[in-house]
């Protein structure tokens, strides 16, 4: 890898120099995507997006960022995958200790100067085998029975289970509850409203697959199990082929009364829509009939793709259909597939829009992918394809713009005001740094490593319009803002 003068390893790993990096990275960005693999020192590739701030996250591989407003501050909770064989427990400069990857907590009130507050170590294990990749945060005062003065973090603990931490002082997290003994833990969901219903994704003992444990976490200090739910054939004692496993879910809470579940990651994708009330109040024994009872729809996708995230977009009035008898009043779910393989070693994983106006019979109506040739992404190194989207359901972006992470193609901004014709209106591919790691493993049938490239993993947005982008290949957290056309679409003032 080329060394660039004045852009040393230490400068990149030290939070103190974040400002200097920002100054460098916000130089007039190339508005075009390059055709070759990026090098250290290259500026970001961007269209209608620019870098506001950066933190290296102690060079830990990052998965889910959650942005939470507490005490007048904006706090980012970033879940991590496990470390690498070479560096299983990176140094936390705050404690001076080597710590297994877990959860990074940052004050992002000033997005130009994100301040690293704390690291909560996670489980033993490299990559997806360890750490604490998932985070969700709720306020005690919205949960009903929680201490109204406290803030709680629900996180995955490696593959083993789930934990609740009290993060009222985000610099001093304290563990509240540990629910371990499972395997295959993944993308949880926690409704922050009264009832505190949490959907914990893991494989409890005896089950044939990863499923969902439903808990009442309205008092996070006294969790109450409600039930388990999976697909018929996943329950203990079932026989035959095990159906595809759940990846994650999003609930619209008591008011929306729907839960959208995504099954499969890079193949055999399914979208399931559940009636939330029937799930919570229906018969709880893990039988196929009881699994089917709350089900409104189960939509199969072409098995060439999976479903990482099923994100409800809600009712959208489509201008194009405004003169039609239905006034263009439709309901949508967006499905994001997850790319697993480096260098395009599978069918393209992408984004799909599903018309769920007739809920019992959801239908995919459109798709979106980054054009591969626009950056020769299949040969740049690492994974190329979709992974995740922002999940914030508030202003300024909901139902207008969505942010899709596309691994080595960075984060892409889609105009979804007409989900029949999603349109890219911006993108940002962060520059790599000394911390950026190569992706190694079986690539194209051989054990080898591919180029170090950005692997934009997950993204989240806040109500100010900032976009938080976490990198799987250790480059840290990039805080972005929109410029130009997409900014105007959501009515943010020109910058």
């Amino acid at each position: 890898m080329n060394r660039v003068r004045g852009f040393s390893c230490r400068a990149l790993l030290g939070t103190a120099t974040a400002g200097a990096i920002v100054a460098l990275l916000t130089m007039p960005a190339l508005t075009q995507t390059r055709k070759e693999a990026p090098k250290i020192g290259d500026p970001p590739e961007a269209l209608n997006m620019r870098l506001v701030g950066h933190n290296d996250l102690q060079a830990r591989t990052a998965y889910q960022p959650t942005i939470f407003k507490q005490g007048g501050r904006y706090i980012a909770y970033v879940g991590h995958h496990g470390g690498s064989k070479e560096n299983p427990a990176p140094r936390n400069p705050l404690t001076g200790q080597d710590e297994l990857n877990g959860t990074s907590i940052l004050d992002v009130t000033d997005p130009k100067q994100p301040k690293y507050l704390a690291h909560i170590p996670g489980a033993v294990g490299d990559g997806e085998a360890g750490a604490a990749q998932m985070t969700r945060v709720c306020d005690g005062k919205t949960l009903g029975k929680g201490d109204p003065n406290k803030v709680y973090l629900l996180r995955a603990f490696g593959r083993d289970g789930h934990e609740i931490w009290e993060v009222t002082d985000p610099a001093q997290p304290k563990v509240v509850w540990r629910h371990l003994g499972m395997t295959d833990t993944h993308k949880n969901y926690w409704e922050c409203e009264a009832g505190g219903i949490a959907y914990l994704v893991s494989r409890p003992k005896g089950w044939r697959s990863r499923i969902i444990e439903v808990f009442d976490l309205s008092d996070p200090t006294k969790p109450v199990k409600i039930r388990d739910i999976g697909l018929p054939g996943q329950e203990p004692g079932a026989t035959g082929a095990v159906p595809v496993t759940v990846h994650g879910l999003v609930s619209t809470g008591a008011k929306g009364n729907r839960i959208y579940l995504a099954y499969g990651t890079n193949r055999g994708g399914l979208l399931q829509i559940l009636d939330r009330e029937k799930l919570l109040k229906g018969p709880k024994e893990p039988t196929p009939d009881n699994f089917r009872y709350p089900q409104i729809a189960l939509m199969e996708m072409t098995p060439l793709v999976g479903a990482h995230t099923a994100m409800p977009l809600g009712r959208i009035k489509i201008e194009e259909f405004s003169k039609d008898a239905d006034k263009g009043d439709r309901e949508f779910v967006m499905i994001v597939n997850e790319t697993f393989r480096e260098e395009c070693g599978e069918a393209r994983q992408m984004v799909w829009f599903v018309d769920t106006t007739i809920e019992k019979s959801p239908m995919v109506v459109s798709n979106w992918t980054v054009p591969e040739a626009s950056g020769n992404f299949c040969t740049r190194g690492g994974r190329f394809g979709a992974h995740s989207s922002n999940e914030d359901m508030g202003a300024p972006y909901y139902q207008k713009l969505t942010f899709i992470t596309f691994f080595n193609a960075g984060v892409r901004v889609l105009d979804v005001r007409n989900p029949y014709q999603p349109k890219e209106v911006g993108y940002f591919i962060p520059p790599i740094s000394k911390a950026t790691v190569q992706r190694c493993g079986e690539i194209g049938g051989k054990q080898r490593c591919s180029n170090a490239t950005i692997q934009s993993n997950n993204a989240e947005t806040d109500d100010r319009g900032y976009i938080y982008l976490a990198d799987r290949s250790n480059t840290g957290l990039h805080i972005l803002e929109l410029t130009g056309e997409p900014r105007a679409i959501v009515g943010l003032p020109p910058n």
Binding site: M301, T302, E320, K323, M363
Partner: protein
């Protein structure tokens, strides 16, 4: 309707083939935001132009089929029934008033289509009469046909299916009535190499207006019934809700061994991928089990119907070329049918959808094509706005490259489908209206409020690349060609 002072306002001029040159001389215009077409105004077009025209005796037209007789190209055009104003237009060739049936034209010279004959159809207005559907096969490809003969399969109104000998297209002779006393008929399919015909019929004992009767027409003079087919719940004796009625089907024949059935027009669409061999040789009794046995995959589209499901076959998708898997996809194109005027009456936008059927058991819609309403204020122009049909020719000139969709008042749209995940419009042609164009009405405050607009109904292409678009609102047949960028998408010079 506002009268123009141009020579084109003369009905006689328009109805004569000689006016074609006049029509082509008018410069085509881009689609405008005008709210109504005017007689005498030039066509609206992009990358398409008019080559030739025939008025089809001002009969409302449905299916055009272009058949080659050696070096000769003959167009067979099925008609809907007449209008209350003119239920039985005069055929100038015979001098007789004839119920709308089938028009037969020599289109060898597309600039000068020559009307050869009209075969009258059943009495009845609009979809109640006429002979809207037509398919043509050569005797020499049919296993037991007369090798010197050419045969036409058509519907006779809603009542029957017929086979005609059209060896001399100027003098068709009826050979046989296959099935009669039907409740309904519609968009048939006929395999010209085996003679197997899939007839859209309505048998009285079935619970739906339209289902499939399968016949062996390998000897067109001796039809042999094979079986009946439909969705489970449509068969005689079933109970409960009746599933969506059939619209049409396309068979891929012996080698591919698939028949794609399309159900529904503007809602409740169902597309079935069926194993042809199992369909033809499986147990024939219409029991739920036997109706399910040949079905490989099924797709539902609640807000849209499936007028036509066209198997495009395996397509190499350039965007996926570097992916280790999925570089070649098996694609089915679905065209919905808009049924209502001026975007009214509970109808959602009817459009075109592309289905990835690479894994046949799990076909998934992946993309759609739609015409922008605002590009021509089509919801308020009059008549239907929305998709209806596409060409079914698999001639190499356009197959897997360019699809032509009829869109009623938005004319015919040329769409680059080389990447079926991202179909892209490359041209369009909205024919001019004439004095023959009939009006379409909606109720406003309980009274009819009528407008006149082109209603491009069905389209077909030939192996030379000519595009034949026919009008439901009696304006005739327009023969078109691609120009400019659109020609390069098809590899035309």
């Amino acid at each position: 309707m506002k009268r123009q002072s141009s020579a084109l306002s003369s009905r006689n001029a328009l109805l004569s083939a000689g006016a074609v040159i006049g029509l082509t001389a008018l410069a085509a215009m881009p689609a405008s935001s005008q709210t109504q077409q005017q007689v005498g105004a030039p066509p609206e077009a992009k990358n398409m132009r008019l080559v030739g025209y025939n008025d089809l005796q001002a009969r409302s037209a449905y299916q055009p089929v272009i058949h080659r007789y050696g070096d000769r190209y003959v167009a067979f055009v099925g008609h809907h029934g007449g209008t209350s104003g003119i239920p039985k237009p005069v055929n100038p060739i015979t001098g007789q008033a004839e119920f709308n049936g089938t028009s037969v034209l020599d289109v060898t010279d597309p600039k000068q289509p020559k009307y050869l004959s009209h075969i009258p159809g059943e009495e009845g207005m609009g979809e109640q009469g006429g002979a809207q559907m037509v398919r043509v096969c050569d005797g020499k490809t049919l296993p037991k046909g007369d090798p010197s003969a050419v045969y036409m399969l058509r519907v006779f109104g809603n009542n029957a299916h017929e086979v005609w000998n059209v060896s001399d297209p100027a003098a068709p002779k009826r050979i046989v009535v296959i099935s009669s006393n039907l409740v309904n008929t519609h968009k048939n399919w006929w395999e010209c190499d085996t003679g197997i015909a899939y007839l859209v019929s309505g048998l009285k004992e079935w619970r739906t207006r339209r289902m499939t009767e399968i016949y062996d027409l390998s000897d067109p003079s001796k039809p042999v019934k094979i079986r009946d087919f439909g969705l489970v719940g449509q068969q005689p004796g079933a109970t409960g809700t009746v599933p969506t009625e059939l619209h049409g089907m396309i068979s891929l024949g012996v080698k591919e061994n698939r028949v794609i059935f399309a159900y529904g027009t503007n809602r409740g669409g169902v597309v079935q991928i069926v194993d042809r061999q199992k369909l033809l040789t499986g147990p024939k009794e219409p029991t739920p089990e036997n109706l399910r046995a040949p079905v490989i995959g099924q797709l539902e589209m609640p807000l849209n119907g499936a007028h036509t499901a066209i198997p495009l076959g395996k397509m190499k998708v350039a965007e996926f070329a570097k992916d280790l898997a999925g570089g070649t996809r098996d694609i089915i194109m679905i065209v919905n049918e808009s049924l209502v005027n001026e975007c009214q009456e509970r109808e959602t936008r009817q459009m075109a959808f592309f289905v990835d059927a690479t894994v046949e058991a799990r076909p998934t819609v992946v993309s759609n094509f739609n015409v922008s309403e605002a590009s021509g204020n089509f919801c308020s122009r009059g008549g239907r706005f929305g998709s209806h049909s596409a060409q079914e020719s698999t001639a190499p000139v356009y197959h897997q490259k360019v699809a032509f969709f009829t869109w009623f008042n938005a004319g015919v749209r040329a769409v680059d489908i080389r990447d079926p995940y991202a179909p892209k419009e490359i041209g369009y042609f909205i024919p001019s209206i004439t004095e023959a164009t009939t009006q379409r009405c909606i109720k406003v405050d309980g009274k009819d409020r009528c407008k006149v607009a082109i209603q491009s109904n069905n389209v077909e292409t030939d192996d030379r690349g000519y595009i034949y678009v026919v009008d439901r609102a009696n304006t005739g047949i327009h023969i078109l060609e691609l120009t400019g960028d659109a020609r390069s998408a098809a590899g035309l010079k």
